[in-house]
């Protein structure tokens, strides 16, 4: 697990000609080859990455001033459209689909000089908490090959921790960035809903989907967010960037006068004791550094998972209806008629979890059940949002573990889908409320990484990243 320099340093080295972009790309590709056994990567973009790096090195030689990510390699979860590359979302139905256009997030990173070197594994269509729902293969946890890396952005988490690239992109609908960050031991950032454009990213649950970075440090994650954030005409749900941006100030956050609420619903006796003690030790360090710590309660948080597993499948069933084999992806050549072509394409193209979610979604949206399930879940969502708003009148930030467990064994939770869903119990509520949240490494429990989750009000991303950086410093 080789460490990369901080991203600003790498880009400065490339700009100054001290490091060649070509060498950074080669180093990344070599690391990918060396760690192939972890199966973090679905495909590498060797030729396009090398030729982009060559152009950057030529520009440096010609004295061109490049962007803030000049020559920095990165890895995108395979649900991001990258120009000219296959984008599968780790699903059989999208095998062979070549992106005819590019996601806004990738466009913005490339405009600053970053180079996409590979596409990372995920649970197919980002449905899952372990990458075991990938239609291709399961990614192994860098700390223990018999365990999962978390999901759905498990390939991205493993890639960053293995040092395959300085950062990776993930998507987070119910915890898919934070959970793998927690399980693999890196930083995973889920921004305020709408802060990063989803244009060109395979849609899952549109009222919940967010995009963010995974990196080894908060500073790197903040820089990558700063590059991607802001309004995009191609995604009408996007919001304006904070005028101050997200690049962290050199002066670390002063915790005097800062109030942090520890979420009681997440710190129960049911929580595994080693995780609880790591989180409590982080809390003690924050208190010693001057933060005011208070215990807070959001009584409806435990309902978050049930709300999520109504709303998310409902939105999934709608978003996945586009995969019908007519316009792209797999296709049933010998179908008798259009209906037969739809059903047979979808039967073979979707894995078990996608079908499960499509059918649950179809059920809760169907006539007669809509009010009882879908509308009720939307209303309980309001209740959760109101509780977040009320608690943020009293505290600046919320704190708790990212997950109730550390990385579990491969196969441990595959027989019961509901058991697998429980991994998301502490992460889904931030998506329901649209608030920003981050997972940062917080010690080890039996040798496996523990994630600390920090949450802030909507639009307080800059403030949240500052607290995360301060906490990272206190925990190191």
């Amino acid at each position: 697990m080789s460490a990369w320099k901080p991203i600003t340093q790498l880009a400065a080295d490339v700009q100054a000609g001290r490091t060649k972009a070509v060498d950074l790309v080669e180093r990344s590709l070599a690391a990918i080859a060396e760690h192939e056994e972890y199966k973090a990567i679905i495909a590498t973009l060797n030729e396009t990455a090398k030729s982009r790096a060559k152009v950057i090195d030529e520009q440096v030689a010609n004295g061109v001033k490049l962007g803030r990510l000049a020559g920095v390699p990165f890895i995108a979860k395979d649900n991001f459209l990258v120009f000219g590359a296959e984008t599968t979302a780790a699903s059989n139905i999208l095998r062979g689909f070549t992106a005819p256009y590019q996601s806004t997030a990738i466009e913005r990173l490339e405009a600053e000089g970053a180079i996409c070197v590979a596409k990372a594994n995920l649970d197919a269509f980002a449905h899952g908490s372990s990458t075991e729902n990938s239609d291709f293969f399961t990614t192994l946890n860098p700390h223990d090959k018999t365990r999962v890396p978390g999901g759905s952005s498990g390939g991205s988490g493993a890639a960053v921790v293995l040092g395959l690239a300085p950062f990776a992109l993930g998507s987070d609908t119910g915890g898919s960035i934070r959970l793998p960050a927690s399980f693999t031991g890196c930083v995973g950032y889920k921004p305020t809903y709408g802060l990063v454009s989803r244009s060109g990213v395979v849609a899952m649950g549109s009222s919940l989907d967010t995009i963010g970075p995974l990196a080894m440090g908060v500073e790197d994650a903040a820089l990558v967010l700063d590059v991607m954030a802001g309004k995009d005409p191609l995604d009408s749900t996007t919001i304006a960037k904070d005028p101050a941006g997200y690049v962290l100030p050199t002066q670390a956050l002063d915790l005097t006068g800062v109030t942090i609420g520890v979420i009681q619903e997440y710190m129960t006796d049911a929580l595994s004791p080693p995780i609880k003690s790591e989180v409590e030790s982080a809390v003690a360090k924050l208190r010693a550094a001057g933060a005011k710590i208070t215990q807070v309660s959001l009584p409806s948080l435990p309902l978050g998972l049930a709300v999520y597993y109504v709303l998310c499948p409902a939105e999934v069933s709608s978003n996945l209806s586009r995969y019908d084999g007519q316009r792209y992806g797999s296709f049933t050549a010998d179908a008798q008629n259009l209906f037969d072509s739809y059903t047979r394409t979808r039967e073979t193209g979707f894995g078990a979890e996608a079908k499960r979610r499509i059918m649950v979604g179809t059920y809760v949206l169907s006539s007669g059940y809509y009010d009882a399930y879908y509308k009720k879940a939307q209303t309980v969502r309001t209740k959760i949002i109101n509780e977040f708003a009320a608690v943020f009148n009293k505290v600046d930030y919320l704190l708790g573990p990212t997950a109730p467990m550390t990385a579990f064994k491969i196969g441990e939770n595959t027989t019961d889908p509901l058991q697998m869903y429980l991994a998301d119990i502490m992460t889904v509520s931030a998506n329901l409320a649209g608030v920003p949240a981050i997972s940062i490494p917080c010690g080890l429990a039996s040798g496996l990484p523990v994630g600390l989750q920090l949450i802030a009000p909507q639009h307080a991303d800059r403030k949240l990243l500052q607290l995360a950086q301060k906490t990272e410093e206190l925990l190191s």
Binding site: P100, Y193, K376, V380, T382, I385
Partner: protein, 97 residues
């Protein structure tokens, strides 16, 4: 009503344009019933006076000028992934009969 019958699952599959094998029907009957039983806890929550949340951006009616913008793609670039085309158009199987 969270215990799904075999017919319920087949109907859902048909509505969702999925065809299922026999073993799958039995599996989903069990799994979907257990998921629905779990989410049923919401029915007892007091939500009196609360409105449903559709989205959390606070944005309303995001409009743009109705003008064609060029993104530099040719129709053939966008049709590259289409399995069946004819005269630069998407072709599908017979719909009726």
């Amino acid at each position: 009503m969270s215990q799904l019958s075999r017919d319920d699952v087949l109907k859902l599959a048909s509505l969702a344009r999925l065809s299922l094998g026999d073993d799958e029907v039995e599996q989903y009957q069990k799994e979907l019933s257990s998921i629905l039983a779990y989410v049923e806890q919401l029915s007892t929550v007091d939500t009196e006076g609360l409105a449903p949340t559709n989205q959390v951006t606070g944005l309303t009616n995001v409009m743009r000028d109705d003008q064609v913008q060029s993104y530099g793609y040719e129709p053939r670039d966008l049709l590259n992934n289409v399995p069946m085309t004819e005269k630069n158009q998407l072709k599908v199987k017979r719909m009726i009969g």
